[in-house]
Symmetry: C2
Subunit: 436 residues, 2 copies
C-alpha cells in the first residue's frame, strides 16, 4: 500500500491533537484514503516534555531541517504559530516541493500573498482550514461545494475567548473585567489577552474569508477593528430589552464592487441563528446568490477540533498525491489571476442601524436636545428607552436608530458629547439586522 509521509513543525497543543488523529484513527484514514498516512518526523525545540502520546524516538527531532529538507516527506504541517520562523520554514518547505498545511492565521493575514505565490509557482498546495473557525469546514466549503455562488455577505463569530466572555457577561450580568479575570484564571484567556479581546485575531480570520468569498485581496490593516473591552453589563442588558444579543462579529459584505470589512461588537437579533452561538463555539454565516443564507457552527478552537481541520487538509493533499496531481483547487477559491483588488468602503460611508447610549444630567429637555441633534444629522429614531431615574450619577438614555450613515452618527455624537448636560461619553454599538 502506498505511504504518504507528513512532517510536523511544532509539538504544542494542536500538534499533540494531530499526533492523536494519526495514532487513534490510523485505520479509518486508510479506509477512507486507500493509502497509509504516516507521521514521519516531528520537530520542536522541546522534545522532552511528556505530551501523553508515545512516539518512536527517531520521530522526534529538535532540528526543523529534518522535516523541511527531508526528501521522504510529502506534506509539512506548520503548527508553530506567529510570524517567524513560521514564514521562513513554510517558504523553505514550498521551495523543497512540499505541500503545506497550516493553522497560522496571523501568518496568512500578513504574509499570505508571498506564501501563496511561492506555492503557485512551485505547483504545491498550501491549505489552512484550521486557521479559521477551528473544526468548522468553512474554508473547504467555500472552495469546494459552495463555489458556484456569488457571495453577498460573510459574518463570523471567530474568536472563542471573546465569545466566551460575552456569553458569560450575558448570562451572569457580570462586567467585562470580572469575567476576563476569571477567564484568565481558568486558562480560557491569555495572560495578555489584547490580541483576542481587541479583535485582532478575528480580523486576521475575516481577512481570509473575505478574500475567498469575494475574490479580492484584503490588507489586514484596512479592516476596521474594535474589540469588546468597552462593552458594559448595562449595554448587554439594554440589548436584551430590545431583543438583541451582543457578539463580536466579523463582517464582510460585497456591494456594487465595494467591500465592507469590519470587526466590532454587534447587536444581533435573538432569533438570529448567530445569537445562539455561545461560549467557545464559533460560527460563520454566509449568504450566496443561489445558496441563500447558511451557517456552519462548531468548536472554534481546542486541540481536537483544530486537529480535525488540519487532518482534513492533509487528507485532501494525500488524495491529490495518490491521484498524481498537484494543486487541484486554488488556495483562495479563485485562480490567482482572477483575484481583484476591490476597494474597501470607508467606515464613514457604511450604513447601519445603531444602538446609542448617553449618560446625561437628569433635567427636562435633554431628550429634546439629543433627538434634535440626531434629526439634524438625518438619523431617525426607531425606539428609545429612558429607564427610571435613580439618585445621583448620569441618567442613561438609550436610542435605537433606523438605518443611518456612520459619518452622520459620528458627527451627531461629537455634538451631543459636547453638550453641557452630557456627563459621560456616548456609546455606539452597531446592529446587524440582515435576516435574508
Amino acid at each position: 500500500m502506498k505511504e504518504i509521509k507528513a512532517g510536523l513543525l511544532g509539538f504544542g497543543t494542536i500538534g499533540t491533537g494531530v499526533v492523536k488523529v494519526f495514532q487513534n484513527n490510523c485505520q479509518l484514514l486508510e479506509e477512507r484514503l486507500g493509502a497509509r498516512l504516516v507521521l514521519h518526523r516531528i520537530a520542536d525545540l522541546d522534545i522532552s516534555t511528556d505530551r501523553g502520546v508515545s512516539l518512536a524516538p527517531e520521530v522526534l527531532t529538535t532540528d526543523a531541517a529534518e522535516v523541511l529538507d527531508n526528501p521522504e516527506i510529502d506534506v509539512v504541517i506548520e503548527l508553530i504559530g506567529g510570524y517567524e520562523p513560521a514564514r521562513t520554514f513554510v517558504l523553505r518547505a514550498i521551495e523543497n516541493g512540499k505541500h503545506v498545511v497550516t493553522a497560522n492565521k496571523a501568518l496568512l493575514a500578513l504574509h499570505g500573498d508571498e506564501i501563496l505565490a511561492a506555492a503557485a509557482a512551485k505547483g504545491v498546495d498550501v491549505m489552512f482550514e484550521a486557521a479559521v473557525g477551528g473544526g468548522i469546514p468553512i474554508i473547504s466549503s467555500i472552495k469546494e461545494n459552495l463555489c458556484a455562488n456569488n457571495f453577498r455577505s460573510v459574518f463570523g463569530i471567530l474568536n472563542g475567548t471573546c465569545n466566551y466572555i460575552l456569553s458569560r457577561m450575558t448570562k451572569e450580568g457580570a462586567d467585562f473585567s470580572a469575567v476576563l479575570k476569571d477567564a484568565q484564571d481558568k486558562g480560557y484567556a491569555e495572560a495578555d489577552p489584547t490580541f483576542d479581546i481587541e479583535g485582532v485575531d478575528t480580523a486576521h480570520k475575516i481577512a481570509i474569508l473575505i478574500g475567498m468569498c469575494f475574490g479580492t485581496r484584503v490588507k489586514f490593516e484596512d479592516i476596521y477593528t474594535e474589540g469588546i473591552s468597552a462593552i458594559s453589563a448595562l449595554d448587554i442588558q439594554f440589548a436584551k430589552q430590545f431583543g438583541y444579543k451582543i457578539k463580536l462579529l466579523a463582517i464582510g459584505k460585497k456591494d456594487n464592487g465595494q467591500i465592507e470589512a469590519r470587526v466590532h461588537p454587534t447587536m444581533v437579533p435573538l432569533n438570529y441563528p448567530l445569537a445562539d452561538v455561545d461560549g467557545a463555539f464559533n460560527a460563520v454565516r454566509l449568504v450566496g446568490d443561489f445558496l441563500g443564507p447558511a451557517m456552519l457552527y462548531g468548536q472554534g478552537a481546542g486541540m481536537e477540533a483544530t486537529a480535525s481541520a488540519v487532518m482534513g487538509d492533509v487528507m485532501a493533499i494525500a488524495r491529490n498525491i495518490i491521484a498524481g496531481i498537484g494543486s487541484r483547487t486554488p488556495a483562495m477559491a479563485y485562480r490567482p489571476e482572477a483575484i481583484q483588488q476591490l476597494a474597501i468602503k470607508p467606515m464613514d460611508e457604511i450604513i447601519s442601524q445603531y444602538y446609542l447610549r448617553f449618560g446625561t444630567e437628569d433635567r427636562p429637555g435633554v431628550l429634546a436636545q439629543i433627538s434634535g441633534i440626531l434629526g439634524r444629522h438625518d438619523i431617525s429614531i426607531a425606539s428609545m428607552i429612558q429607564p427610571e431615574r435613580k439618585e445621583g450619577g448620569p441618567v442613561p438614555i438609550v436610542i435605537m436608530t433606523h438605518e443611518a450613515k456612520e459619518a452622520n452618527v459620528r458627527a451627531a455624537l461629537t455634538e451631543i458629547d459636547a453638550l453641557e448636560v452630557a456627563l459621560e461619553p456616548s456609546r455606539l454599538i452597531r446592529i446587524e439586522n440582515e435576516l435574508e
Copy 2:
C-alpha cells in the same frame, strides 16, 4: 480555454435553477475553475413551457439519448427524480463513461449500491450533495474536510415540509391537520403529502448520511420511521413547558459496532442549536471524535439552494477532469472495499428518555397505578405534569422519564392502555438530550 460540457436531464424547478447558475454565474465559475463550463443539452419531455430562462433552441431536446449518448458531454446532471427512468438513464450515462450529478435521494436509497458499483467499475464519479439538505454542504464536508473523524452520531432535520408544519404548529398552537391544509393551499406541501409527513423522504436522506458517517450499508427498509401526523398541539405545548421543541429528527448513532438508524418526532432541548432550525430550513448535526459537535444549517430545498449544491458537484467533477483524473474521493466517503454491513440495533433495544402522555379518567389513584406499572418495567420518572382538571373528557397525565429501554416502555404502555381508567391510547415521543 478548456471547455467542460454538461447535459441536463429534467427541466423542472431545480433544473431551471441549474440553468440560472450556468447563465448568471458563468464568469464566476470560470474565475474559480480556470475552464469554461457549458450546459450543452437539456432533455425534458416538455420543452415548450416558458421557464423564464432563454436558451438557444438547439440546447433543448425531448430525447434523453441526446444527453446520454452524446460523446461531447462529460457530466450528466440527473434531475428527473423518482426511480424510473432515472435509474436506467443514470446507469446508461455511467456505461458511456460520463460522470453523474444527481439530487435524487429516493434513487440512491433504493438503487445506490447498484449505481455506485457501476460507477466504480467505470472509474467515473457519482455525486449527490443536493440529495440531502438542499444547499447545505454536508456530503462534501463528510467526504472531504471532516474525513479524519470517527463519527459518533449524525442528527438531521431533513424535510422542509415537516419542519414548516411543526414550526407553524409550535408558533401558532394550531393542530396538524389545519396547518397541513394551509401548507397545501400555499404549495408548501404536496397534494399527497404522505412521502414527506410520514418520514419516508427523511429516511431516504439519513440512510445516505449514516452510510457516509459510519462506513456501513443501511437498507432503507431497516430504518425505523415514524411521521409527524400524530403530533398534537397539546404535545407541542407540554414540550414547551418542559423546555423542549418537537422536531422530526433523523438519528444515526454508532455504538459498539452497532448502528441506530431511526426517524421519528423527537423532543430537543430549546437551547439546543437544532431547536432553532425553523420553517423550511434544514440542519445536520454531527459529532466526531476529534471535531466534537458541529452543525451545518441552510435552506433544505428550493430551486436556488438545491442548484447551488448541484453546481458544487459539477465544479468538483470539472476540477478532476481538468486535472486529468477520474474519481478522487469515494462516493460514500469510504473506499467500497472498506464498507461494512454493521447491524442495526432493533428498536426494542434502544435507550432513550421518553415523553409519555396518558388520557385517563379523573379519579384518585390513577397516577399511582401508572407510576406503579412504569416502575415495574424499570422506567423511572424524571418529572410529571398533571394539569388542572377540566369538566368531562380524559384528564392528561404527562410524564418525562429518565433513560429507559424502548421494549420496557412499550410493554408498560400496553399494560397502561389496558387499564380501565385509560380513556385514550397513550402517546410516546422520544427525547434527545445529547448535549455533547
